[in-house]
């Protein structure tokens, strides 16, 4: 895209003093945040809090990874928050109806797949902008979820299911294990398989990809299905964590997910992104919230600071990227 090819645009050159910060990768920035919080509060580095932090970032992280696939193709998936809420209802409903847990889980994930297929169909066959089709499902899915629950919540009584999100394994919260379970195949897919390369190619130049024999349509199906399936998976985790199915939950999580992804270096113009970037982005956001809570920052100041930190972090990261060119 034009924006990408601008050369030598007025990239401000880093000044002396703060230059250490400029060299930091995103991971470095996250660690710096952790270090600072460790110094500022006693509670931060307690095992308990680290567990909390890992749990708190987990769901956004998974959504952000799914979202990243879509953004790399120069698309967007606004529906993920709604899919999370919706699938939390579906699984609660199925469990309430006595469906065995394994089947309920599989059925819920399948719903995720179907939603992704629907999005890709709208984009590929009907020629709709991704923004529109996913905005439409965002709206409709919340409606369907509300209809199913009649505006209320469905309690989940299956202990095995609700205990899952609370459990630890090898001292690490199961929710964080789920991030790993998603991230590793996602990494293999995006960075090591040819389909990952195709996502980048489609996002960079659809026509060139097509003339090179890339099945552009299938690639788009893949991206949206992965995003929705990640969202459905998060819906399961959410249902397990809060023990209810509720269609209005996860409101605005799509923005969180997109923001995590962009903070992690993904370009909304497509063709730029990774799996580790959005993970870092999600945990940076989680850390900001966790830290503010521990420091007992006034909730309103917390918002102001979050906004400012996002600017600062992305600014440093941009500088580093430019510098390394």
């Amino acid at each position: 895209m034009s924006v990408e090819t601008v050369e030598g645009s007025a990239a401000p050159t880093p000044k002396r003093g703060v230059s250490i910060l400029f060299g930091l990768t995103l991971l470095g920035l996250l660690l710096a945040l952790w270090l600072a919080l460790g110094l500022a509060t006693n509670a931060f580095w307690t095992p308990n809090n680290i567990s909390n932090l890992l749990r708190q970032g987990a769901m956004t992280a998974i959504l952000a990874v799914g979202q990243t696939f879509v953004i790399i193709t120069a698309g967007i998936d606004l529906s993920v928050g709604a899919v999370v809420g919706f699938t939390s209802v579906i699984v609660a409903w199925l469990l309430a109806a006595g469906v065995p847990l394994w089947l309920a889980v599989i059925a819920t994930l399948l719903i995720g797949v179907l939603i992704g297929v629907f999005h890709a169909f709208g984009i590929v066959r009907m020629g709709l902008p991704p923004f529109i089709i996913t905005l439409a499902t965002l709206t409709s899915l919340r409606g369907i979820g509300l209809l199913i629950t009649n505006g209320s919540t469905i309690s989940i009584t299956n202990e095995a299911f609700t205990n899952f999100s609370r459990a630890d394994f090898l001292g690490v919260p199961s929710l964080f294990w789920m991030v790993i379970v998603v991230a590793i195949p996602a990494y293999v897919f995006l960075h090591l398989s040819r389909f990952g390369r195709y996502l980048f190619a489609v996002g960079s130049n659809r026509e060139a990809a097509r003339l090179s024999g890339v099945n552009v349509d299938r690639t788009i199906y893949l991206a949206y299905v992965l995003s929705s399936t990640c969202a459905a998976f998060v819906g399961l985790l959410l249902a397990s964590r809060i023990g209810i199915g509720n269609a209005t939950q996860a409101e605005g999580w799509e923005l969180q997910a997109i923001a995590s992804s962009v903070i992690g270096g993904t370009s909304l113009f497509g063709a730029v992104g990774s799996v580790h970037g959005p993970l870092l982005g999600a945990f940076i956001l989680a850390t900001i919230n966790n830290g503010a809570n521990l420091l007992n920052v006034n909730s309103f100041w917390q918002r102001i600071i979050t906004g400012l930190l996002i600017i600062v972090i992305v600014y440093f990261d941009q500088l580093r990227r430019r510098g390394s060119r």
Binding site: L192, R194, N205, A208, R210, G213, A271
Partner: protein, 513 residues
């Protein structure tokens, strides 16, 4: 007053204060540009004289476009000084260059695809009255300029629907209209046929007569000898010399450029023709109709025609990118329906498309990914790509085609125009296809590499493949094609065996003279 004159009335006013003809107008003193570690232009000192046509030649990646970008304020220089009419100037932004009457037709067409032709021509310099644009007046004026230059283009069309060659004409018209004192052409004839080139040359001479100083970059040395007063040679970012055109010859220039000699550019080997690979009968689609031709193993079939003659459209149709309206395709004697690109690839067809920017490259991705894109399936082992093979294949193409890059990880957008073109070709060389369609394969490629590419063609033929070669550069198709088809308005109007007709005949057929 009509057309060009009308809108360039300012030129006369400005030229009144001009430097006398033959005096230095633009002086470069140790001008230098680094992209990170890459020294694109090492300290160069060149003087441009008022009113001359000054050619610049050099290998791909030699730094020609970089020089132009420095002079037009597109990129900031790393070091050195520029003097304009004797005064040191900063040239920090395109605006500053434009204000001094310096303008360029860049190698890559840089226009706005969503705007109309007229809007592009007037961009940044709109006519308005009381703050409101005079759209009709601008369209009319733009049409006047286009007509005046002999470019057959509608001023009110959206730029994006034009072919790359047509877009280049628009960029030319635009610069001619606005380059009031110093005008630079960076490979303007890359996509043009002889016919359109001739129009361009007329334009350039006319501008010269009006007192405009011209810089002309080309890989086609005969053009340099036809047009230029002086020629400067760049090699590896270094200015290795400037010659008066009467005091040099092709051999010397080539020797300066690549530091060795080339015996024969058009490397042509004749192979015994094998079985027919593909045959089209009355193929009709968007932009072409009733095209019947065949390609045999070991054969190069050339397609020649003017801009918009329908050759590229035919290639895209055959490749399954565009729907076929009527006619049949026989693949090795069997009737086939090629309705998408993958089917074409599976049969064994490879297409290197004409526009590297729009169709050929993923510009913001690494060279390696671009080169391997058509063959990832083959590089896959189980679930993942075999990274070693991936690297090896990319590195091999980089080596074979002498793509000038420190690494396969560099983004395609950081390559010089000619090197980008080589990536487009390199994508398909390891594909193992039976039929290769090369659409303008050597656009912007330097003479040395051109010869190398022709050698690679010969290797493909030797392995039993057939080639369809589309080129707007008549000598290329003329010297290489075993059979040459001339296109006009989407149809084949004449066919010739190897060198059976003269250049003049072929050209006449293409333009229906």
């Amino acid at each position: 007053m009509t057309g060009l004159q009308e809108v360039s009335h300012r030129r006369d006013a400005e030229l009144k204060t001009a430097v006398p003809k033959g005096e230095p107008i633009l002086d470069l003193l140790g001008l230098q540009k680094n992209y990170g570690a890459v020294q694109a232009l090492k300290p160069a000192s060149i003087t441009f004289l008022s009113g001359e046509i000054h050619a610049i030649v050099g290998e791909n990646g030699a730094g020609k476009s970089t020089l132009i970008k420095l002079l037009t304020g597109v990129i900031p220089r790393t070091a050195g000084e520029v003097r304009w009419c004797g005064e040191p100037v900063q040239l920090a932004s395109p605006n500053e260059a434009i204000a001094r009457g310096i303008n360029a037709v860049h190698q890559e067409v840089v226009l706005c695809p969503h705007l109309s032709v007229a809007a592009n021509m007037f961009l940044g310099d709109e006519m308005d009255r009381n703050g409101l644009m005079r759209k009709r007046a601008m369209t009319a004026a733009a049409q006047g300029v286009l007509d005046d230059l002999g470019f057959n283009l509608p001023a009110d069309a959206t730029l994006g629907i034009l072919t790359i060659g047509q877009q280049q004409l628009v960029a030319t018209a635009r610069a001619a209209m606005r380059g009031t004192r110093f005008l630079i052409f960076d490979e303007p004839t890359a996509y043009l046929t002889r016919q359109e080139s001739a129009q361009l040359f007329r334009l350039i001479r006319r501008l010269q007569n009006e007192g405009v100083t011209i810089v002309y970059i080309s890989h086609r040395l005969e053009e340099v000898f036809e047009l230029a007063d002086r020629v400067s040679v760049l090699r590896d970012g270094t200015h290795v010399g400037t010659r008066r055109i009467g005091e040099t010859n092709e051999a010397e220039l080539i020797a300066l450029m690549i530091n060795r000699t080339i015996e024969q550019i058009y490397h042509k080997e004749h192979f015994p023709l094998g079985e027919t690979i593909v045959e089209t009968r009355g193929l009709t689609g968007p932009g072409f109709s009733d095209v019947s031709l065949s390609v045999r193993s070991g054969e190069i079939v050339g397609l020649y025609g003017l801009i918009g003659a329908g050759r590229s459209e035919f290639a895209l149709g055959l490749y399954g990118r565009h729907p076929i309206g009527a006619g049949e395709v026989y693949w090795q004697g069997r009737k086939v329906e090629i309705d998408n690109e993958r089917k074409a690839m599976e049969l064994g067809i490879a297409l290197a498309p004409e526009s590297r920017r729009d169709q050929g490259l993923c510009l913001n991705l690494p060279i390696g990914l671009n080169v391997n894109l058509p063959v990832f399936r083959r590089l896959t082992r189980g679930l993942t790509i075999n990274r070693a093979e991936e690297a090896a294949n990319a590195d091999r193409q980089i080596r074979d085609l002498q793509i000038k890059t420190p690494s396969r990880r560099v983004l395609a957008s950081a390559m010089s125009g000619g090197n980008q073109q080589k990536i487009v070709i390199g994508k398909w060389l390891s594909h193992g296809a039976k039929l290769f369609i090369f659409d303008e394969p050597t656009v912007g490629v330097d003479v040395g590499t051109k010869a190398e590419i022709y050698r690679l063609f010969a290797r493909l033929l030797e392995q039993g493949a057939g080639i369809i070669l589309i080129s707007s550069y008549l000598p290329e198709v003329y010297e290489l094609a075993d059979r040459l088809h001339v296109f006009r308005q989407g149809r084949i109007v004449a066919s010739h065996d190897y060198r059976a007709a003269s250049h003049e005949e072929v050209l006449a057929q293409a333009i229906n003279a």
